[in-house]
């Protein structure tokens, strides 16, 4: 039996596009004598469709797409993810389902039972869990079909006591198929592999795991679909961060020898490849954001500093140098090297840049405020005005010429509120919003892996917002390695103040940093969408009440 895995990049709500993509893959599979082709979770509508699921017309579109797909299944079977209606009297209106289609007919529909409802996932908001499970009988084989989280009920799971495999395994299936939509996060691929390995090994049968690929606003799905032999060893690993299509012969899979597992190299204990993956995720994140929104051109402000330099390099890779406009926005506090470094960066890739000095609009703004500001001393207000004039100029270019403004705020800044709302926090997409400053440096080194793109001076100099004379980030913040360690413990590992202090950090510093994080909640509320590359990113996966006392 030949089984094809079609790892594709779907577009949420683009039923025509998704259906065509699915039908083309089926057609290719037919030409390669495939018996069964498998698509990812909610492939028909794209994942995650969120509240679009609450519109009856959206579900009708899903059903029409399934019917269209079914028409193209002559002599082939298809497994494809799609929301379906809950026909029981009670419960949420939908199921998150995998449909088994063969020879023009929807033969059976299998509902996801374990619904993730943590971090960025809200599946209980929409779906009723499946409760009855049975294997698919196809060409003399029994297939145990499940959806993503359904396999995550392993012995060490704290969340689930049992899952569909407990019931499916009693039918003695020949192999497992799991269709997924599992987004990238640093370190997640190796955990995924561990879980899939454990399932195949536990039941002693091959496992076919198909993931979706492509970015959907904040979430970057990384692909990397897997095939495990009956011992749970990985015998095939599909591409990361791009579409892929591969065909496997079942008997070969059963006993095939294990291949070295890329993601072991890529994800664990190897800082260099961790950075490489993050780089690929961010490039794909930018690329799909623009493509799926129907835009092609980006604009951003280049300060000569490391954050905007890295965003520029990522954008150039994602969109092509001809589609990225860099804008220098110098003020009286900008150092000579800031301008020179920014220009050098553009010249290194042959990119176009413009210079818009901000002094006059800043001056005109302060003159208007002067009667009210009389008797006050310059403070953060005047610094914010500079940042906001920059945002204003960049947004004017965005509006006039149809560019999307890229935001360059990094995760450390976003965490402690080191940035100006409506100023440098403007933008359509926060490219580095989930990347701590210390990792921004790693990305810069990675960008320069073959040749110097980001000027060495940009990497070497002390970080500064350059909003007043001789300003350095370290005037108001601890050194970034220290800051990032505290932030990671608090935000990504959910450690409390006491626990972080117990790790040996200075209590007064920990207290100050955590207070800053809490106080900046209102700024992050209005931040652009953040490309998620860790297990806990700012955005929909992290929800805090603004009025809370902490």
């Amino acid at each position: 039996m030949n089984i094809a895995l079609a790892q594709l990049n779907f577009h949420i709500g683009n039923f025509e596009g998704n259906t065509q993509k699915i039908i083309q893959a089926i057609s290719r599979a037919q030409s390669e004598n495939v018996d069964l082709i498998v698509f990812s979770e909610l492939a028909v509508c794209g994942y995650p469709p969120l509240d679009l699921l609450e519109y009856a017309s959206f579900i009708t579109h899903c059903e029409e797409s399934l019917e269209e797909i079914a028409k193209h299944t002559k002599n082939i079977a298809v497994i494809v993810g799609c929301p379906t209606r809950n026909t029981n009297q009670y419960g949420r209106k939908l199921h998150n389902s995998a449909c088994f289609i063969a020879d023009g007919k929807i033969i059976s529909v299998h509902h996801k039972a374990l619904l993730p409802n943590y971090d960025v996932f809200d599946e209980f908001r929409y779906f009723e869990p499946g409760e009855l499970f049975s294997c698919i009988r196809f060409k003399g084989k029994k297939i145990a079909l499940s959806i993503c989280e359904d396999l995550w009920d392993l012995d060490d799971s704290a969340l689930y006591s049992e899952g569909p495999m407990d019931s499916l395994s009693t039918e003695k299936p020949d192999f497992i198929v799991n269709i997924a939509a599992s987004p990238f996060a640093k370190g997640h691929a190796s955990e995924r592999k561990k879980v899939l390995h454990a399932n195949a090994a536990k039941y002693g049968i091959p496992l076919f795991y198909i993931n979706t690929v492509g970015a959907q606003t904040e979430l970057v799905f990384d692909g990397g679909s897997l095939v495990m032999n009956k011992d749970g060893n990985c015998v095939a690993e599909m591409k990361y961060f791009s579409e892929d299509f591969q065909v496997f012969e079942l008997d070969w899979v059963k006993t095939a020898r294990a291949v070295p597992f890329q993601s072991d190299l890529l994800f664990t204990d190897n800082p260099e490849s961790e950075v490489r993956q993050m780089h690929q995720a961010l490039v794909l994140g930018i690329c799909d954001y623009f493509r799926k929104m129907g835009f092609s051109k980006a604009v951003l402000g280049l300060s000569g500093g490391i954050d905007s330099a890295v965003v520029y390099a990522l954008a150039v890779e994602a969109l092509g140098v001809e589609n990225v406009l860099a804008v220098l926005l110098p003020s009286e506090y900008s150092s000579e090297h800031s301008i020179a470094d920014a220009i050098e960066l553009c010249n290194n890739v042959g990119g176009k840049w413009e210079k818009l000095p901000i002094a006059n609009p800043v001056e005109a703004t302060l003159r208007v405020l002067n009667p009210l500001f009389e008797g006050t001393s310059p403070n953060l207000t005047e610094e914010n005005i500079q940042a906001r004039i920059r945002g204003l100029l960049l947004m004017a270019l965005s509006n006039k010429f149809g560019y999307i403004l890229l935001n360059t705020t990094n995760k450390s800044e976003a965490a402690v509120g080191f940035g100006t709302l409506y100023g440098d926090m403007c933008g359509g997409l926060a490219v580095l919003g989930d990347v701590f400053k210390t990792r921004v440096y790693q990305l810069a080194h990675y960008v320069n892996r073959d040749r110097e793109i980001i000027p060495q001076n940009t990497i070497d100099k002390a970080p500064s917002a350059e909003l007043r004379a001789d300003q350095k980030d370290s005037d108001s913040l601890p050194e970034y390695d220290l800051l990032d360690a505290i932030l990671e413990a608090h935000i990504e590992q959910h450690k409390s103040e006491q626990e972080i202090c117990a790790q040996g950090y200075e209590p007064a510093l920990v207290n100050r940093v955590l207070k800053l994080v809490h106080t900046a909640e209102y700024k992050r509320f209005q931040m652009p969408p953040v490309l998620r590359v860790t297990r806990k990113a700012f955005g929909p996966g992290r929800r805090f009440p603004l009025v809370a006392k902490a």
Copy 2:
């Protein structure tokens, strides 16, 4: 048996404040010979605590607060809402619980079984549902204790087939206690009453319903706690939108005569009182946002138009006229009457105002952009620059003097993207973000109920953004009564394009409006928190993917 209902305004995460408030109410109850005092859902930590629940230290604080409360329960019993740890091997780490405390000890803990996970509610994100239920035995009575949604499993419920009362009722309880955190939305109070009535009537016993009160960022809890007699008739209705404390004698309640139900008058088929409730909700929403964030002063731009006039009036009522600064930001396109109307509004309440003309900074900005804009015609870009200079000036005042900027965007504008991101969409709180334009007029009339506060000319004139010569909203949008009807059908009633057209609206218009709604998703993503006054507000209760095709 004397039962006290303590309807209080808690502050999320303010354990010291909440605990003191609870202890004071207990003390008052003791002095009034109360046997049992009842507090609302998650009273100990405030509702909704969101991801603060994911910090172990937060749960420890809850436990310590409970212990402190228990110390003050000599000769009295207390029912109070608090998150508790799930001690089973599997499942989410917490329960949403009601603790029964008496004579210094936590006697029993009762877990919420029906967890709302729709709209603004994410209870499956944190809590494991309760599965075992038993009545509290207290002074010879059996109490059926449940938490909010637990009573919403009525015969016509599509969501739940059964709830805790199915099991509790077999013990033949003497009365029902339901502790809740049920936020205000237009029309919700009468639905709430219907459900509570049906429960009391079904089981033929009295029902004590305690709701929380006060605003938590977007959500405004309206109080209105209820007592039903054994026939399900309302015998007491506590205050709306403010704290309240009342004591009831059980035997009296059983047979007391029904009182006229305020909220029947207030909520149903009575546009005037619907507006009154919305007005109270918005005033409380502003008040608590400031108080709980630790601010007292607001600033906003007054355009002479209806939206900013209504926000100004609401802010004056919530914060006091001495705490609200109005700023006029005229441009070359501002009409004479705009300035006169704004000044008249301030004078009507004795409020202070400042005038900051925007011409010079706008001019200076355009001069910087001139080399790049050469050969282009003025369009939305130039209009946005005006709006953004206004935002910039207002934020400068906010930064310099510690004002919170109030946003004046209404729901109709937010829906169709008729507003400038980082311009008039700036602010800490979107006061009217859930109020359609047609309702803004109703609010204006209500503000003027006793005397003219908002100038009649502001109410009468045609709406205009005044960003170019002779501009009217109706140049680019349909009339608001038509627009709002389509928006309400789509956003609040989840109707699709086809369904709305089937109601008789012009298909081309419906298509255009729905496209605008979809396209503006990215703007709303960065909008300030919106005070929720309908069943479907922009914000955390409405989640759409930005990159979707619709």
